[in-house]
Symmetry: C2
Subunit: 277 residues, 2 copies
């Protein structure tokens, strides 16, 4: 999906919400576990059907599928296929945090972009250029590179300053500008990072940012938008647990929709304030 | 597997070789592709049977399985199961380069250590403490953290110096000493890094290092040992392509064994020189 199409979808749905499919089998509603052959897929399908018109992206987190072995891999593939078949204009991010030496990253790129045909994959930058560039050779596909993550541990290394006062996340942003551009690269910046968004935007004013950490992790949507929004929106804000596990009864999908719609309403207002609608 | 047991196995087999199962389906011998239902597993089984007595560890690289989707996941699981059943004293490293926020890393840890029951998993440190510690709570299991990798891109960020002259890989080593110890943590240090091994050993003298980059990537085994070996050997040296794809005829397993045995002989000499045999 091109940057322009993504922005068009954001305007059409008045939303830059990404729903994170962290579909932990241990947290699924009991009735699905008891009655469904593939409860993870059944859960995802219901969540997707309930939220598709208030979001623009889905982000399955591979960890929650891999931990179920073969059955998990199947649930994941069926979810991707379901999205392709029924919601082809939704942006699909495989949240896999991959990254390895060139020949291995090449295999991951093939896997995600040719076999699964998802739109984007999250990649860790620690191993540098040749671990990232194999993902950049696919038209309409995206690398989403970790820059400044939402977790506590992000403080361990990402804020380290070099001799010139440049922090590691800034070095990652600046260096990777030499590898790709705003049409094939996004960055993960955690919603919990507040005013650091301004520092991110100084280096990558035009790129899309994937923003986890609103909801369960405590980040503020208003603050993210104040510092992070650009004139093509430039934000995909993810919420996972706050939407998909808001309720664990037979009404889980309705409640998930309510939670997603609440965020969509806030997003619509923020897009209007910015003059993007 | 405990550190002591690993060292015992190294002395018994006179080898600290890890065979990398980067079993790219496009490079498999033709007769396997034509005659086998699961050519990747058939290939791995033959490689394992041919090399088990000259190595102490196997390292399947997940990228080369994932890219085949469900079938690939099956090949991977069958390989792990085969190792458990036939070679239970070999150390098995899932080369997955995982690492995510705490609750997600917890799922990966469950997947690798409870479901698959491998001995170790490679983890990227970029996201810091809570992305790594979930892997440390399993007795006899290991995190293998990226420190100084063998690829060209490793120069992009891993050698960055902070204001006090400490480089990022050194910061990763030093900081992670507060999370684990030499009984549950190893580090990836590329064979192409030569004398930097001495800098690594200044910070982590007792830890095991997983060393890729001998063979196809050009690193020197002698140099690695000169700077990196400690009194429990402290090294697992990996070779993948240089062993498993040394020949693509029906004799591939025999040739793989020859290549592995050559490395084992060199390793035996190096262990003797050091007085460890």
């Amino acid at each position: 999906m091109t940057r322009q199409l993504l922005f068009d979808n954001i305007r059409r749905r008045k939303s830059f919400l990404c729903v994170g499919l962290d579909s932990d089998i241990r947290k699924l509603p009991k009735h699905l576990l008891e009655n469904e052959d593939d409860p993870v897929f059944a859960f995802n399908r219901a969540i997707i059907d309930a939220t598709a018109d208030v979001c623009v992206a889905y982000k399955p987190n591979l960890a929650f599928y891999e931990c179920n072995g073969l059955a998990g891999w199947k649930s994941y593939e069926r979810t991707i296929q379901y999205l392709h078949n029924h919601y082809p204009t939704h942006f699909v991010i495989a949240d896999a945090k991959r990254g390895d030496i060139g020949n291995t990253s090449q295999m991951y790129a093939r896997s995600f972009f040719e076999e699964q045909d998802v739109d984007a994959v999250t990649v860790a930058p620690y191993m540098g250029e040749d671990s990232v560039t194999p993902f950049l050779g696919y038209a309409g596909k995206w690398v989403v590179m970790l820059a400044l993550t939402s977790n506590k541990g992000s403080l361990d290394f990402q804020l380290l300053e070099d001799k010139d006062g440049e922090r590691l996340f800034e070095k990652v942003l600046r260096t990777s500008l030499g590898w790709g551009n705003e049409h094939n690269t996004m960055y993960v910046v955690g919603a919990t990072r507040g005013s650091l968004f301004a520092d991110v935007r100084r280096i990558v004013p035009r790129h899309f940012l994937l923003v986890p950490g609103v909801g369960a992790q405590g980040g503020s949507l208003e603050e993210v938008c104040r510092y992070g929004m650009n004139d093509a929106c430039g934000l995909l804000v993810n919420s996972s647990r706050g939407i998909i596990f808001a309720d664990s009864t037979e009404h889980f999908a309705d409640v998930a929709r309510e939670k997603a719609a609440e965020l969509q309403k806030q997003m619509e207002n923020l897009l209007r304030e910015r003059g993007l609608l």
